[in-house]
């Protein structure tokens, strides 16, 4: 015999609108073992909580059922209430009659009846619940940051400054990310390198940061507080411990690779550093471009290297680090615009993608900061086409958020560096950030022409060879425009990194329909994910500018800190265990467990579960043919009783 108290919440009108709450409480009072049943306006409020605590004492309740919102919202709240009232916290059951009932129907009859069914099931289950004891584990104090763009750099520095050890994993041979490619940054037009390189250098110098460039995460084990992450150090063929960054090798190298940093506009050597301020400033060898790796002969770099740092035998190496929390900041790619054949990217040499233009402006870029076309001439008329692939139902519906602003930046720089006419083809101008509207107004003053209409097509000019015609409808005048230009700049959609799916899989992250990582809650938990202990920052979450990226990075650092400042962490007691008498050794549990908790005990010939690793997800119990697995808090008996209660309706 148990003594159950049922508490039905109105949630204002959120629940009370489509469920007759007093009828539900009345119904609950007729169910077996229910001693008291009440409804109240806001159960999570202080009076609501006090009411529950009071009734536990007064009626000697030993099971509590709260029919309210999702357990994700308030399970912890009500667990605290019963715990303070002297009950084991696992004896409280939440019945979600908001997200699962009142918010998904308008029909008060249906709503009330479904709520009754759910409550009936919960009462049946609650009678079989048992008290459980939580476990505590040590928390690893270190943090891993993945991605060394401005987001990752900022997060790593913040954390390191609090005294925590940080592993910063970057897959390129330098940190910096896209920001390192820019010349100026909107809206202030301050020099990108001037504000970024000091931070890059600080990362390198920081005693609490272990910088792992040219590295990728290959395996993630464990759980919040105790992740074991395997990182692959890709072979650089240069021993960075010996290299003194004289860069004599890069001068002599005859190999030719495509400079990713310059967006493929120029070639670089096979042994290279991506750009002069790269961090670390030590070279790597690109196997695919290296004459020795291709032809078996060369080794010029080896000959000139006084430090004997070149090592053609180097292999990929793997190491495993233990961290308590992870920040993912892998940033973005720009959409490949070649398939949008109407814009002629890749066909007409005068069509550029936005990042290529950033490199043209950059004094360390392929043209040393001069704006010239591929044939070396200065452009006379330039069209900047907004929203290429973005805000486009056929490609990406989302707004990339920064293109309006960087297009304005481009216009300004074009005006500064050339005498060309500059045209903006836009759908809407979006300038909602601090100082952005002012920046927009400033550029209008600079004699830039704004045409409200999306660029529809770029064609070859019939009259003037080498020039192009941009076609668009000016939606303000209703006129169809054909504008001759000699340079077209596309502002392509910002999309997640091509390998972001692998990261999502490694860390169990959900992604939205574009592949950006999903936050736990769009408003209240924008930096957390559904995987506890894994946080996200920067454009990998959604397109944003540098100020927002940095704000997120600081936030993510703070979130990660809330985990790693603790010495010990409480683990859910809802773990699974194997009944050895029933286990038929099929090892299905081992195959399906996402946390690697079950293992096979060869001696006993049965599977067992490492409780420290088990997260209580219940997968193993559901695939165990012999029903040998007891998922605590969701035992077969408890679940079957709940189903029985549901089916009675």
């Amino acid at each position: 015999m148990s003594r159950i108290g049922v508490f039905v919440c109105h949630c204002g009108l959120n629940i009370a609108k489509t469920i007759r709450v007093s009828e539900l409480a009345q119904f609950a009072s007729t169910l077996p073992d229910v001693v008291v049943a009440k409804d109240y306006k806001f159960m999570c409020s202080t009076p609501g909580q006090e009411m529950i605590a009071g009734d536990i004492k007064e009626h000697k309740l030993d099971r509590i059922i709260v029919a309210a919102c999702s357990p994700l919202m308030h399970e912890q709240t009500f667990r605290k209430v019963v715990e303070n009232a002297g009950l084991n916290k696992y004896l409280v059951t939440i019945v979600n009659i908001r997200e699962q009932v009142s918010w998904v129907t308008h029909d008060i009859e249906e709503g009330t009846s479904k709520a009754k069914a759910l409550l009936n099931g919960a009462v049946y289950r609650a009678r079989l619940l048992a008290p459980l004891t939580s476990r505590f584990i040590d928390v690893s104090p270190d943090v891993m940051v993945i991605g060394g763009g401005i987001a990752g750099i900022q997060a790593a520095l913040e954390l390191a400054n609090t005294g925590k050890k940080v592993y910063l994993v970057e897959k390129n041979s330098t940190i910096g990310g896209h920001m390192a490619q820019f010349d100026k940054t909107f809206p202030t037009l301050d020099c990108s390198a001037c504000i970024l390189t000091p931070k890059m250098d600080a990362v390198l110098q920081h005693k609490n940061i272990t910088l792992m460039t040219y590295c990728e995460v290959t395996e993630v084990k464990g759980y919040v507080g105790n992740f074991d992450i395997t990182v692959k150090q890709k072979a650089r063929y240069v021993d960075h411990d010996k290299c003194n960054a004289c860069l004599a090798c890069t001068e002599k190298c005859p190999g030719k690779g495509v400079s990713e940093w310059d967006e493929g506009l120029v070639k670089r050597k096979a042994i290279y550093i991506p750009f002069p301020q790269a961090v670390p400033q030590k070279p790597v060898i690109d196997r695919d471009a290296c004459t020795f790796f291709i032809k078996g002969k060369c080794r010029l770099c080896e000959k000139v290297c006084e430090q004997k740092a070149i090592d053609f035998e180097q292999q990929d190496t793997f190491s495993t680090v233990k961290v308590g929390a992870v920040i993912v900041a892998t940033g973005y790619d720009l959409m490949n615009t070649k398939p949008l054949v109407q814009y002629g990217y890749g066909k007409y040499p005068g069509v550029y993608s936005a990042l290529e233009v950033e490199r043209l402006f950059n004094s360390a870029g392929p043209t040393s900061g001069k704006v010239t076309l591929r044939d070396g001439k200065e452009p006379q008329a330039i069209a900047i086409l907004h929203c290429i692939g973005s805000r486009d139902k056929n490609n990406y519906e989302h707004c990339s958020r920064v293109c309006c602003m960087y297009s304005l930046k481009f216009a300004h720089l074009f005006k500064e560096k050339t005498s060309a006419d500059v045209y903006q083809f836009y759908i809407d101008m979006r300038a909602p950030g601090k100082g952005y509207e002012e920046f927009y107004n400033r550029i209008i003053e600079e004699d830039v022409k704004f045409i409200r209409g999306k660029g529809a097509r770029v064609a070859e000019s019939a009259d003037e060879p080498g020039r192009m015609i941009v076609e668009a409808e000016d939606t303000l005048t209703g006129k169809f425009i054909k504008l001759p230009v000699d340079m077209v700049v596309l502002s392509p959609a910002m999309i997640p990194r091509s390998d972001s799916k692998d990261i999502a899989r490694l860390f169990n992250l959900s992604t939205d329909k574009y592949g950006f990582f999903m936050e736990r809650h769009p408003k209240l938990a924008p930096l957390s994910t559904m995987s506890e202990g894994i946080f996200i920052a920067g454009v990998c979450q959604s397109p944003k500018d540098i100020p927002d990226t940095v704000a997120q990075a600081n936030g993510a650092a703070a979130e990660a800190l809330t985990i790693v400042v603790k010495d010990k962490m409480e683990l859910e007691a809802t773990t699974a265990m194997v009944n050895p008498a029933s286990c038929c050794a099929c090892q299905n549990c081992i195959r399906v467990c996402p946390y690697g908790a079950p293992f096979f005990n060869e001696q006993k010939g049965v599977s067992e579960i490492n409780e420290a690793l088990c997260k209580g997800c219940g997968l193993c119990a559901s695939v165990c043919p012999a029903s040998a697995i007891i998922a605590r808090h969701f035992t077969n008996d408890q679940v079957l009783a709940e189903i029985e209660g549901l089916m009675e309706f």
Partner: protein
């Protein structure tokens, strides 16, 4: 070409003797004399004096892989397998119930095996219809070539014509006849749980005496437990004293599984059991 059963039997005896005498195995799982020629028995050969009892004829349908899981892990076993049986061995290796290195697989290429009750040839009708073992160490006959290639799923044509309600009525009627002797489970190489879910009392998953609800619970769960694992030997259906065509359900599920995951049960040691293995490229059809 036809199958020379006598020659296979002789070869089986020779190999069994050699393996036992050389101490390579402690057990040979084969077939032995039964009540009459039509009813050979599963036979566990432990000593050389047992060897004279070995037989092999077209009625040796039993799947000896059924017996592999009986012996302590690490026991060295030689096992005679027909094509479908070899798939059971592969599946058991995949499931890590037995280790490849503990087994010596005596493969028997064969067709034209017969149902002892009806005398009918079974090949692809109730069995998977392949002629050569997918795994063996020693082949006890010549590989079969030139036989017609028949899909094991061809027999589903009539069954698949039934709609959902039709199938429900069909299975209700068929399964109502089940007397719960559990011969199907005993014959099946993949049904190795002890205790089986249906024998458990807490919770009691279904009624244990033969009655409609309990029969459905037992069989539907068993079908589900065999999904992606049934290697289509047909033994369950032949073992059934009331001739319930269990193979129809198993084949149907096997077909769906193969379409969905691109692998049939027990074909390759490197495969992972389809239903407990996550691959990114797996079809989402299963969620529909």
């Amino acid at each position: 070409m036809s199958i020379n059963f006598k020659q296979i039997e002789d070869k089986l005896k020779t190999e069994a003797r050699k393996l036992l005498e050389e101490g390579k195995v402690s057990i040979v799982l084969a077939y032995g004399k039964g009540y009459d020629e039509k009813k050979p028995m599963p036979y566990v050969v432990r000593k050389t004096s047992d060897i004279e009892n070995i037989v092999f004829n077209e009625y040796c349908t039993a799947n000896m892989a059924r017996y592999l899981v009986r012996y302590p892990r690490g026991t060295k076993i030689a096992i005679a397998v027909k094509p479908a049986d070899s798939r059971a061995v592969v599946q058991l290796i995949q499931e890590e119930k037995v280790k490849r290195e503990d087994l010596i697989v005596l493969g028997i290429p064969v067709y034209g095996m017969k149902n002892f009750k009806t005398g009918e040839t079974i090949d692809s009708k109730t069995t998977c219809g392949i002629y050569n073992p997918v795994l063996y160490d020693i082949l006890l006959g010549e590989e079969v070539h030139g036989q017609p290639v028949v899909s094991p799923y061809d027999v589903l044509v009539d069954y698949e014509k039934m709609d959902k309600d039709g199938r429900w009525t069909f299975w209700k009627k068929e399964l109502d006849r089940c007397i719960r002797c559990y011969a199907c489970r005993k014959a099946c190489p993949m049904c190795y749980c002890d205790p089986c879910f249906i024998d458990q009392n807490k919770p009691k998953w279904g009624e244990k005496s033969p009655e409609s609800q309990g029969n459905l619970m037992y069989h539907l769960t068993r079908f589900h437990h065999l999904a992606g694992r049934c290697i289509d030997c047909g033994e369950c259906s032949r073992a059934c004293p009331v001739d319930i065509p269990l193979y129809l359900f198993h084949k149907k599920v096997a077909k769906e599984c193969e379409e969905m995951f691109g692998q049939a049960a027990g074909m390759k040691i490197e495969d992972k059991p389809a239903l407990v293995n996550f691959r990114v490229e797996d079809s989402d059809k299963i969620l529909e």
